[in-house]
């Protein structure tokens, strides 16, 4: 058996048919390990679709931690056309990754779902020798939402042109992931491509295609992938450093044991002044519902109303009062930010020209909800 296995690859290499169209089979195999994700978004350039990579036979998949996942109605289409619901188990913004799980109808969240899918072994992938500049790669993704149901995702071919850090910015935000990435010469990172697999030409997983980011100096979009061996060091407010790698994240998140390290709170300040006051921040993820608006403040002038829910700031999704504060901490008086607020069933876009904090006004302290025990 061993001998046969050893001989087979040699025979294949010698075959001219393989030389002519080497990627057809690889592409079919990779496609079976990819899911097409449909979720939230669909406005202001935020796509409501993305791509995911299966990492277990029963339907765990990883993708980028994008706003697409910010819905209770997350849908995936499998390679064979099955349309299924999925839930997010955990996210880690520093790795820009999320682990999700496919649910079968009528089964509970943690019940076995009976799926038996082809998948990438993320541990094995992370242990493999990294690819080098010049290596051929394939990118598979559902960019531009070209594929639905059983339609195969798109395959693109290119080379790794560099392995380096990105100092991109997205909106007013720093690009969340700070490690090395594979930069490729294929135009792999189109809308919705994020989360798709970047593989070797043999279909071995190298990394996840990253979110869309643009080089603000050259006005060009960057084509890159976060390697599966990515590991980040996250420092908490007590200066304790936690190392988190993608395989570790996946392993813990599968078990429901992944807890994002408490990040250092940006003590730098509150950012520009809006005049918004929110409901009491009591939960881990208290939604930023507007409770009060200071008269004549920028928020009042922009027409924000009580009970509006702040959903996006400059295109970045806002999940909680905390993420609102994070977002605002990076602004300054004089900046104009665009907020999307949910009012009733509609999203309203408003531009706020941020002001200085009025003297004598009691500034809120940056609040952190109590750790759950």
């Amino acid at each position: 058996m061993r001998t046969i296995r050893y001989l087979l690859p040699l025979l294949l290499l010698a075959s001219p048919a393989v030389a002519a169209d080497p990627f057809v089979k690889v592409s079919q195999q990779v496609n079976e390990k990819v899911v097409k994700i449909f979720g939230a978004g669909g406005f202001r350039g935020a796509t409501n679709y993305s791509t995911g990579v299966l990492v277990s036979a029963d339907g765990h998949f990883v993708t980028i931690a994008s706003q697409t996942l910010d819905t209770s109605e997350l849908i995936v289409h499998l390679f064979d056309g099955r349309r299924m619901k999925a839930v997010v188990l955990a996210t880690e913004p520093e790795l820009d990754i999320a682990l999700c799980y496919i649910r079968t109808e009528g089964k509970k969240k943690d019940e076995p779902n009976g799926l038996d899918l082809a998948f990438f072994d993320i541990n094995e992938s992370a242990k493999r020798k990294p690819a080098e500049p010049g290596d051929w790669v394939l990118a598979h993704s559902n960019l531009f939402e070209v594929a639905m149901r059983n339609e195969p995702v798109s395959v693109m071919q290119g080379s790794i042109i560099s392995f380096s850090k990105l100092h991109g910015k997205r909106g007013i935000f720093d690009f969340p992931y700070r490690g090395d990435v594979y930069v490729v010469d294929a135009i792999s990172n189109g809308p919705g491509a994020g989360g798709g697999p970047l593989t070797t030409r043999k279909g071995e997983l190298l990394g996840l295609i990253g979110r869309e980011i643009k080089n603000s100096q050259t006005e060009t979009w960057i084509n890159y992938a976060i390697p599966t061996f990515a590991e980040v060091e996250i420092k908490d407010d007590k200066d304790v450093v936690t190392k988190v790698s993608i395989p570790k994240f996946v392993e813990l998140a599968k078990e429901g044991k992944y807890k994002p390290p408490t990040k250092v709170i940006n003590k730098g300040g509150l950012g520009g002044y809006t005049g918004l006051k929110f409901v009491p921040n009591v939960l881990d993820r208290t939604p930023p519902y507007v409770d009060e608006i200071i008269p004549d403040s920028p928020a009042a002038k922009a027409g924000i109303q009580v009970n509006d829910l702040v959903s996006f700031i400059d295109g970045e999704p806002i999940y909680s009062i905390k993420s609102y504060q994070d977002a605002m901490s990076r602004t300054r008086s004089g900046d104009t930010v665009r907020m999307e607020v949910r009012r009733g069933d509609n999203l309203q876009s408003v531009d706020l020209k941020l002001g200085d904090w009025p003297k004598g006004l009691l500034k809120p302290t940056v609040t952190v909800p109590p750790e759950k025990k």
Binding site: L13, A19, Q28, G106, R149, P152, S154, S188
Partner: protein
């Protein structure tokens, strides 16, 4: 100051070493062979790649020559700006020369146009490429895109780019006014840019597999985004016969709305079910009802809305194709043939397209002429003097009626070779033989065509001792019921009347006039699939049906309110059959002919099988014809 690595090395006197080092590290043999093969293929197809230009040479897009007499494919959106120049343009080939070119046919919805290059000297042959089979493409295969992006090459040497097929059977919705809908198209990462439109996509054998025309851009700017689309050559083949006949071709609808069932009830694999059907659609006439499940169309399975749009979008209107369905989604599958309905027809336009929100097609409409740069397209004055300008004739429903007349004349010539010239026999006709009805009854058959005093021909069918049916199709006192006589045939007598008229006139002139003065009475109708019924009178199913299909050349005649399509074998122009219809609410009467034998120097069919809708009416065996002269 900056210099690249090589400059740096040169500065240290290392350049020779560096270069030599690169040369020694030769690629492995497989890669070198593949490269050599690729270079060979490119050299082979390059001479046939065209730059489509305004008259005078301003590049507008790309194209590719597909026959030695200069037929060339491109995008409709490339030639559309030339409309105001009388559709006269020029095409530059890799030989550096500009050839006067005229629009032949177009497919606005599919974004394809067929143009013809005129040789510099009559009889000169053009280099051309072979059409491939795009259904054999798979994601991951290599492809070559060629054309003239950005109007780069002033000598028209095409640019070549190389990349992967990223996806097949892709659906891209219409861009504006219901045109430029890319169904069942090919997606690739091969770089295409403005100017590549209309240019060829080749497989690695140098066969034409698609016409590049679109990309996904969305906030990426209108340059290569890594996602380009080509119209599949297999779709274009379906329209090529129509385009060669100068037709402004139309795509089709099934006349039925289809939607995904079970999406909300949690069934993970979807079912496609009919939700609404137009009464005048073939599907409704075949008895398909809402909630019936669509399984296959045109031989391909349908499991999603995209599938449905893809299989439907590749066909011209009026084509007959097999449809497989399950009544109520249960039990055994049934197969039936349905004719596709027009997409851009006035009637449909008024009714706002097919019923229901899940309708297969967007709102129809004709794209208005777009003003060229500076309002007037370049080269207008010179274009008018080109010999190509003499090869253009405007007519409603046609891209260029000149070519329709050419194709009609050519087909009539072949037809006269196959069947002889029947124009001498304009008098009364008689035919004797047997008739066998589908229910098994048989009898003697007598057919008579008699010119009445009022000039209108009366057709009479006598079957055994049963009282004969007579119909005067152009008579003033004809009743609606008469038109469908004999009962169950769907109008065999009217069809037989058309037959005599057609063969004794055989020309584009008198006799063929419709009630609508803008509708020419005698035209080439392109190519349509025909599924002849044999004299066993059994309707074929599945593979047998598919095998029986003949893609026939069509002559379309209109007399009064009767439209008849005459189907000729593509090889030798033998009459395969014809169908006559009176209105859209009814199926046409179809007649399939065989056993063509000589009668007074003309070849006439001696076996006629008559079909109406999904029923066979009878087989007519003719033993003798008597053809009267005027």
């Amino acid at each position: 100051m900056f210099f690249d690595r090589r400059d740096a090395l040169k500065a240290f006197g290392l350049a020779p070493l560096f270069l030599a080092g690169r040369a020694i590290a030769a690629p492995d043999k497989t890669a070198a062979d593949a490269e050599a093969e690729r270079v060979k293929v490119i050299a082979m197809v390059e001479p046939a790649v065209a730059a489509v230009c305004f008259y005078g040479g301003q590049v507008c897009g790309s194209g590719v020559v597909i026959s030695d007499d200069g037929y060339c494919l491109t995008n409709y959106h490339v030639v559309q700006p030339m409309e105001s120049n009388g559709s006269v343009m020029q095409c530059g080939l890799a030989d550096g020369k500009l050839y006067d070119t005229i629009l032949v046919g177009q497919d606005k919805i599919g974004d394809v146009a067929l143009v013809k290059l005129l040789p510099k000297k009559e009889g000169d042959k053009f280099p051309f490429v072979k059409l491939g089979d795009s259904s054999k493409l798979e994601p991951g295969m290599w492809s070559l895109a060629m054309g003239n992006p950005f109007g780069l090459a002033l000598d028209f040497t095409p640019t070549v780019t190389f990349g992967l097929v990223s996806g097949v059977n892709r659906y891209q919705p219409p861009e504006g006014k219901g045109t430029l809908e890319y169904t069942d198209c090919i997606q690739f990462d091969t770089s295409i840019n403005p100017g590549n439109s209309g240019g060829p996509l080749f497989n690695m054998q140098g066969e034409l597999v698609g016409i590049n025309g679109r990309g996904s851009f969305e906030k990426r700017g209108r340059v290569n985004s890594g996602v380009g689309y080509a119209i599949s050559i297999n779709q274009i083949k379906n329209f090529l016969g129509h385009m060669k006949a100068g037709i402004d071709t139309d795509h089709a609808t099934l006349g039925a709305a289809i939607s995904t069932a079970g999406e909300e009830s949690g069934e993970s694999i979807s079912k496609m079910v009919f939700t609404q059907l137009l009464d005048e659609s073939d599907a409704a006439r075949r008895g398909i009802k809402p909630q019936d499940q669509l399984l296959y169309f045109g031989g391909r399975s349908v499991t999603s809305t995209n599938d449905f749009k893809n299989v439907l979008g590749i066909y011209p209107k009026e084509w007959r194709l097999p449809l497989r369905y399950k009544v109520g989604g249960q039990g055994a599958a049934k197969e039936t043939l349905v004719r596709l309905m027009a997409n851009m027809d006035k009637e449909v336009e008024k009714e706002g397209g097919a019923p229901g929100g899940g309708g297969p097609q967007p709102g129809p409409g004709k794209p208005g002429p777009q003003p060229g740069p500076g309002g007037q397209p370049p080269g207008a004055a010179k274009a008018a003097k080109s010999p190509a300008a003499k090869m253009y004739e405007a007519k409603k429903g046609f891209a260029n009626f000149y070519f329709n007349k050419q194709e009609t004349a050519r087909l009539l010539e072949s037809l006269k070779k196959a069947h002889g010239d029947g124009t001498a026999f304009a008098g009364n006709w008689k035919a004797d033989g047997d008739i066998k009805l589908a229910d098994g009854r048989t009898g003697e058959l007598k057919l008579e065509w008699v010119d009445d005093k009022d000039g209108a021909t009366e057709v009479k069918l006598t079957r055994g001792n049963i009282s004969p049916d007579t119909v005067k199709p152009l008579g003033t006192d004809i009743t609606p019921a008469d038109r469908f006589l004999p009962q169950g045939s769907g109008g065999l007598l009217v069809a037989l009347f058309q037959y005599k008229l057609f063969f004794s006139k055989l020309n584009q002139g008198g006799g063929f006039k419709s009630n609508d003065s803008t509708n020419p009475g005698f035209t080439h109708g392109g190519v349509e699939p025909v599924y002849p019924v044999g004299d066993d009178m059994k309707l074929k199913q599945g593979d047998d049906l598919a095998k029986s299909r003949i893609d026939c050349e069509v002559i379309r005649t209109v007399v009064d309110n009767y439209t008849t399509k005459w189907f000729f074998h593509p090889k030798d122009a033998t009459l395969v059959g014809w169908e006559t219809s009176f209105n859209k609410e009814e199926d046409p009467c179809e007649v399939y002919t065989s056993d063509h034998k000589d009668v007074n120097g003309v070849k006439l069919p001696h076996k006629l099988v008559v079909r109406w809708g999904d029923k066979v009416y009878a087989t007519l065996t003719i033993k003798s014809y008597t053809l009267g002269k005027k």
